[in-house]
């Protein structure tokens, strides 16, 4: 590929996002003008045909967010993969990072387009809200556009400079570009987060009578839920990016024509799943932080979220997370079929499955549901006489911590399957690792049961002990494992590419589920504002002021997910036409000869 050709392509790809950014800037400038001539009363809401204004903005925002999460999540592990390749001198990681970035490149334009669609939808359909936000946040909007500009060019330098900055110090410069790309992306994210979190949790001094020009900028920017959302989204973007990459790899695996391609995409799918599930394990803690801050900001909002009209949403969330844990573990268990030596672990998978299924069932047990008098009578009280016991947080925290431990065990067994440690203390080390698991599980169970015998305020604190026990066990086991596996003998190479198709479908289900879950939790976050554009500051007086029920929300979410995946498929297909996939060089190993008598 010629340098001039690369440059031309880069400029072409630059043009669209910049056009979008320019359009947004123009729109902002337009708003900043004193367009409200004397005697003219601006309208508060616009109309959108058929689906209505709310659904139109919802869809635009959701699709922008899906693409944005992907283009923010992928660079994070692209630079990690590149660094692993540099440190271990394994070119396959470098090639993997480059292919990740290629996916990123083609998704970037779509992110910008949907961002522009969202801004224009807000300007035309919700001019009053947008005008208010523009007045409060104008400086940050200009910074946003500027950083977006830098992000675009850094991305093009990062991708198109890959082969030029390949050796010696130049490689570190290239990696530095990747870090810079992540930095710009994170700044863009936290700026946008301030706008949406301000709508949820405006500072206490802002009242309905406060003119927007009197709102102190930093107070509005760093509002109560800003940092929790930043943390939660940062982690969730990694999960999402991993899941989409996994699905991409799964699709390419299923359509692969050669063993080499299958081996490459099998390995890529594993990495995607590994990244997604590893980050997923941390995500509940970030969610807990966010939830706590919402309660701290406004108890009524917190109560509405967990026990009000949103209460049933958490049952659906538990179902989806159950699918994630089961599909993620299933993928690993099936994958162990192509790892020599893994057969010694396979008898344990059924017990792990039992723990996961029981955990999901407990987690999905409802507790504080809005119920009518008739429903309470039918149930025989506020809580179900038997299942009500399992609905409390003691049981749920216990369940989720055991599920996390089980998933970690799956990863551990997967990673150790084809290795035989050679250190002299290997047996003792394994026993200590087992003991760490048992101790962590015992602590989780102890506080889970003890929680039933103490007041709620004490019980809430127990979840911290449970989480710390699990994290300590994970940290201890990983540390021991790294030391034990130094110089370990191989029981045989992983037979990349010899993965059953059903495992690839598990990756696809994971991606669809992550995407759907993201839409669902976005609905929860936005929906707890209820009939307020800006909570208790600006009331929603439109025809769509009532927050819809979960059934309607699920249809919109499903439509958004379908559109997103459809567009991603199209973009990847187009990208694949232009450039050949980068094959990592992961070796496919022929299947073992069947033993005599098989």
């Amino acid at each position: 590929m010629s340098e001039r050709g690369s440059l031309a392509r880069a400029l072409r790809r630059t043009a669209l996002p910049l056009l979008c950014a320019g359009a947004v800037v123009t729109a902002l400038a337009f708003l900043a003008e004193p367009l409200f001539a004397q005697g003219y009363t601006p309208r508060e809401y616009g109309d959108f045909p058929i689906i209505g204004s709310r659904a139109a903005v919802w869809i635009a925002a959701q699709l922008h967010l899906f693409f944005a999460a992907f283009v923010l999540g992928v660079p994070m592990f692209a630079v990690v993969a590149e660094l692993v390749g540099m440190l271990n001198k394994e070119e396959r990681f470098d090639k993997l990072a480059k292919e990740f970035t290629r996916l990123l490149l083609v998704s970037y334009s779509a992110t910008a387009i949907w961002g522009a669609v969202l801004v224009f939808a807000l300007i035309t359909l919700y001019p009053r809200v947008w005008g208010y936000l523009a007045e409060v946040f104008a400086p940050s909007m200009w910074v946003y556009v500027g950083v977006f500009f830098f992000e675009s060019f850094t991305l093009y330098l990062y991708y198109y400079g890959w082969d030029h900055l390949k050796k010696g110090r130049a490689k570190w410069v290239h990696w530095g570009l990747g870090i810079l790309l992540n930095l710009w992306g994170t700044i863009v994210m936290v700026i946008a987060n301030s706008w949406l979190t301000y709508m949820m949790s405006p500072p206490a001094e802002v009242t309905p009578d406060t003119a927007p020009d009197m709102v102190r900028f930093w107070s509005a920017f760093a509002n109560a839920t800003w940092m929790p959302i930043n943390v939660h989204r940062f982690i969730a973007n990694i999960v999402f990016g991993g899941a989409i990459v996994g699905a991409y790899a799964a699709f390419r695996f299923l359509s692969a024509k050669t063993d080499e391609e299958r081996a490459h995409y099998d390995w890529m799918g594993y990495i995607g799943n590994f990244v997604a599930i590893t980050a997923l394990i941390v995500l509940p803690f970030a969610g807990y932080y966010l939830g706590r801050e919402i309660y701290e900001f406004n108890q009524q909002m917190g109560t509405t979220m967990m026990g009000g009209f949103m209460s049933w949403l958490w049952v659906v969330q538990a179902f989806l997370i159950g699918v994630l844990f089961l599909a993620g573990n299933y993928y690993l268990w099936v994958g162990m079929g192509r790892i020599p030596g893994a057969e010694r672990f396979q008898p344990y998978t059924k017990y792990m499955l039992v723990i996961l299924v029981l955990g999901v069932m407990v987690w999905a047990t409802p507790r504080n549901m809005i119920a009518s008098r008739d429903e309470l009578t039918a149930m025989g009280g506020q809580f179900h006489p038997f299942l009500g016991v399992l609905g409390v947080m003691s049981a749920k925290n216990t369940a989720v911590n055991l599920m996390i431990l089980t998933t970690f065990l799956s990863f551990l067994l997967y990673g150790r399957a084809n290795k035989r440690p050679t250190v002299s203390w290997a047996q003792r080390g394994t026993i200590i690792q087992g003991a760490l698991f048992v101790i962590a599980a015992a602590i989780v169970l102890f506080y889970g049961v003890y929680g039933y015998f103490v007041p709620a305020i004490v019980r809430i604190g127990f979840s911290v002990y449970q989480v710390l026990a699990v994290l300590a066990a994970i940290g201890g086991v990983v540390t021991l494992n790294v030391l034990m596996m130094r110089g370990a003998e191989s029981r045989g190479e992983i037979r990349w590419g010899q993965m059953p198709d059903r495992a690839q479908y598990a990756l696809l289900v994971l991606a669809v589920t992550f995407t759907w879950l993201m839409g669902l939790m976005g609905f929860a976050r936005s929906g707890i504002r209820q009939h307020w554009h800006i909570y208790e500051v600006m009331r929603d007086t439109s025809v769509d002021a009532a927050t819809p029920a979960l059934g309607y929300a699920s249809i919109v979410i499903s439509a958004c997910v379908l559109m997103f995946l459809g567009m991603v498929a199209f973009i990847f297909w187009v990208g694949g036409l232009a450039e050949k996939p980068v094959i990592s060089g992961v070796g496919s190993v022929p299947p073992p000869e069947p033993a005599a008598g098989d």
Partner: protein, 259 residues
């Protein structure tokens, strides 16, 4: 064929999730209905409007449908009957109507043993909505004593609220603002005022501007050191009597009181 299978898996997964979400009870967050009652409103109209608010946009059922979170209002609570039966005897000297109304407008006024203060935020409801809620709750086993006069008075208060709630002075001089708002009735500055609350002298050395601002906006949230027993005595609506600019003038002035 592979493409079709992948499409099938995606569509099937989406269909299952959509079906699950549509299978559970469908709860919509209702917008509280604006009420335009006058003095001629009937008891039945008030109770019906109150019921709609209680079960819908008021969000009351979030806690009061759950006996573990808040006292049950519609069924017996602790052997004392429903709220309409027990409201008149809850607080000596306060009749049922006053008790419920004050409980709504000042959730910390009468907290039942074993429960936390109510999270209901009366400030986002109109007077007519609040009286409709009182009427509905009285109707749960007791006589309704809310009248059209209560509603009319509340409507007048609502209409006057912008004037009454507006700044008492247009001045931007911090001392004038504080004098006009009777701040020196409880705080001392340069020998002026009454030493009931924390002195303004040296305030900037003790706490920062953010804390001062919070203390004005939400006086009941945090006690000043040495004045814990005074917590809750400062007028909670004091900030409503200041413009945003006046608030900042006062905050910065007090933050500068040091040395």
């Amino acid at each position: 064929m592979t493409n079709l299978k992948v499409l099938g898996v995606v569509l099937g997964t989406l269909a299952v999730y959509t079906w699950v979400a549509n299978s559970i009870p469908q709860l919509e967050s209702v917008v509280p209905e604006e009420l335009s009652f006058g003095a001629d409103v009937t008891e039945a109209e008030l109770v019906a409007a109150g019921q709609a608010l209680f079960n819908g946009g008021g969000g009351c059922l979030v806690c009061h449908g759950l006996p573990t979170r808040a006292p049950n209002l519609l069924t017996d609570q602790g052997g004392e009957g429903t709220i309409g039966q027990r409201c008149a005897t809850r607080v000596p000297g306060a009749d049922c109507k006053t008790y419920i109304y004050e409980s709504l407008t000042d959730p910390t006024a009468y907290v039942l043993d074993g429960f936390d203060p109510m999270v209901f935020q009366a400030r986002v409801f109109s007077g007519a909505q609040l009286w409709a809620l009182v009427a509905f709750l009285q109707d749960q086993g007791g006589p309704v004593t809310v009248t059209g006069a209560d509603v009319a008075a509340a409507a007048e208060a609502d209409a006057a609220a912008p004037a009454a709630g507006g700044p008492l002075t247009a001045s931007m001089d911090p001392l004038e603002i504080m004098r006009a708002n009777l701040c020196l009735g409880c705080h001392v500055l340069d020998g002026e005022g009454v030493a009931t609350g924390p002195p303004f002298d040296g305030m900037g050395d003790r706490i920062d501007a953010d804390r001062i601002r919070r203390s004005i906006l939400d006086p009941g949230a945090e006690a000043a050191e040495g004045f814990q027993d005074q917590l809750g005595t400062m007028t909670p609506t004091i900030a409503d009597l200041l413009s945003a600019r006046q608030l900042e003038v006062v905050v910065q002035f007090l933050a500068g009181q040091g040395g």
